[in-house]
Symmetry: C2
Subunit: 396 residues, 2 copies
């Protein structure tokens, strides 16, 4: 009845669904306020005031034609504003023709991979990684090559990276600040990656695209400055969304920014716009394109996320969890208290705590905790984490 | 640099782009009011007042959490409202689990084809047809089998249809009211199609899905009642959008309605939701799901479209164009005045009239005229059509 490949993928991903359904059951039994759901990256925060104000302004002004189709690449004025905003940090500036509005970062990654991948070509990802990348690549006949990061630091292992590149390599996906670890890749490491890619492109006479998936680029702590990808790489494409930075995940709006240093940029641009159209996205939602265009410097309250990070990080490490301190995004990625992370996550559920096993991110033995939740949820969950830690102390 | 398949498709579809660019050039030279653009199905009308009112109500009420992720299938309450609205006409009623909110009909068709197609399986379409179907099927390794309709009437040729089905047939796409002809398939013809599909499914022991692409279902003239697909077929899926019925094409909101008579409906539903997630749509835009849910009986001004149909139909036929009178949608599909429809459309451009050649719909020798434009555009274009007709009278 349904496609064989999809049926296989479906059964492989069914535990995520099961976890979600288990969570729903727990909420029905104990009440939503007694279930501590750290399993999803669905921001609890409402969008910043700038977004709300702009949205009301546009909707109440009755501008004609605001909901119509536009160019499949998005509204020209919106694309120009995004380019100009990015140009503040760029050595080689972008224009309208380097920006394509997308249905979030997930839509953006899909149209890039659809555009560049021939069957059997390879996409390098670094574990732990956002599990959906595997599906995005296989949608277009591509194959994810999973390269582990360094133990403890979760930074790129440059030797392993270099060895994983071959003549079939078409793209490398990085995600910094990282989901699920919160790690930021340093400028030094990125420059070394760029040198490796450059060398390998020459060796194979190929294009190897650096795809930078950056939905967490505005959620950075402790004064760290994010390295500017397009200044470091040549064949790079930024994939971004307003899901996290403006707390608009349900509205599906994001963009691609193509490095202006890429040769034959018109072919790439036309290919991406064609993919955006024929994959059925057609265009990013019209109203929210206009909304975000005037909120490019707005962000959600990053200090509030930092506060949540600090409480949970301090609490969990004091309970004996081993965990790297996140520099960005809104996830903790601690070591599981037992080897089997799925069993650990199922045990946490007994304390009404919902987590995601590291296996879903290509990194067994860990778990992900998403702290884009209310402070109340965090505070009320602490007792449960304590009991969970005690349980394993007693058991071990 | 880009995928070989995409590069080929791109060059094949470049005349559409060229036409669009030519139109832009004309507008720059003569002014937008002197260029009569009938090439796109981009409704000139604003959304009906119910939509505007609801949108303002939601946006101004500051409801918390309205822009968050929801279940990948869409908001439960929205899906239930759509099911109940459809149930007024259905023998076998639908519930929440039969509805999936999608990014328009284009997104809906893509997730259905992704879900059901194995490589090399076939999708039957009836020419003339919406040209994008070919790309939607090939995105997932499928193949469109183009079956011509009956000369003059553009109705389904049942004999040809039956002969085109084989063991590889996985789906049949119908689009009624039809883009580009405006034809509606009668209940009698659809019932005979259902019998043929039923017989062939038994013969091959296969599933053959009837996919009804219905974005024009609310734009129907002369009191005609549209046959109810789910009452006629068994393995049917409705693909609909609010792009045309509520003039919201840029907002990308639509839905799938799965026939409740389908066996193993949970597998199909889960597959579709998985495809919606992993193709990167994630979910239909949140705010507009909530907006349309309370506007299910609203429509754009169908009388205004009828007025446009009548003027253009009467004018063109009086000029000697041969054309079927549309029963729905907002397109005319007249015979080209010369065999080469692309050449004809290029000639029309000289009179500042932008049309689409029938070749783009698998039906050379015709052209499509989209009349979802202002009455002013129509009236001002008539002189140009007259000159165009005269030109060919003189030339022939």
């Amino acid at each position: 009845m349904i496609s064989k490949e999809l049926k296989n993928n479906l059964s492989g991903s069914s535990w995520v669904r099961k976890m979600f359904e288990e969570g729903e059951k727990l909420r029905a039994i104990y009440g939503a306020d007694k279930v501590y759901d750290f399993s999803l990256g669905n921001p609890e925060f409402n969008p910043p005031v700038e977004v709300k104000t702009k949205l009301k302004e546009i909707v109440n002004s009755d501008i004609s034609g605001i909901h119509k189709y536009m160019n499949n690449a998005g509204f020209s004025d919106v694309r120009l504003k995004i380019a100009e905003n990015l140009n503040k940090d760029l050595i080689s500036p972008l224009g309208e023709k380097h920006i394509i509005m997308t249905c979030g970062a997930a839509g953006g990654l899909n149209i890039v991979l659809k555009t560049i991948l021939n069957p059997e070509e390879e996409v390098i990802v670094f574990a732990p990684f956002f599990g959906e990348y595997k599906f995005y690549a296989s949608n277009y006949g591509g194959k994810c090559i999973v390269v582990p990061t360094l133990k403890e630091s979760f930074q790129i292992d440059l030797d392993l990276f270099e060895k994983s590149i071959n003549e079939k390599t078409k793209a490398v996906i990085i995600n910094s600040p990282n989901n699920p670890t919160g790690v930021i890749y340093s400028e030094d490491i990125l420059k070394k990656m760029a040198d490796i890619i450059d060398k390998k492109e020459k060796e194979y006479g190929s294009y190897i695209f650096l795809l930078s998936d950056e939905p967490y680029s505005k959620i950075v702590y402790d004064g760290i400055k994010l390295p500017v990808i397009h200044n470091i790489f040549k064949n790079s494409i930024i994939i971004n969304s307003y899901s996290k930075s403006l707390s608009l995940p349900g509205e599906r709006v994001g963009y691609l920014a193509i490095n202006s240093k890429i040769e034959d940029i018109d072919l790439l641009f036309n290919g991406l716009v064609f993919a955006n159209r024929t994959l059925g996205y057609v265009n990013a939602p019209a109203l929210f394109q206009k909304v975000i265009a005037d909120c490019l410097d707005a962000t959600v309250d990053v200090e509030a996320y930092k506060e949540r990070r600090d409480i949970l990080y301090n609490e969990l490490t004091s309970l004996g969890f081993s965990c790297i301190k996140p520099e960005g995004a809104f996830y903790l990625f601690p070591k599981s208290l037992i080897e089997d992370d799925v069993e650990f996550v199922l045990k946490a559920k007994e304390f009404n705590i919902l987590l995601s096993p590291g296996s879903g991110f290509g990194c067994p033995g860990y778990f992900r905790l998403s702290y884009c939740v209310s402070m109340e949820t965090i505070k009320n969950s602490l007792e449960g984490f304590k009991k969970l830690a005690e349980y394993y102390k007693i058991t071990n």
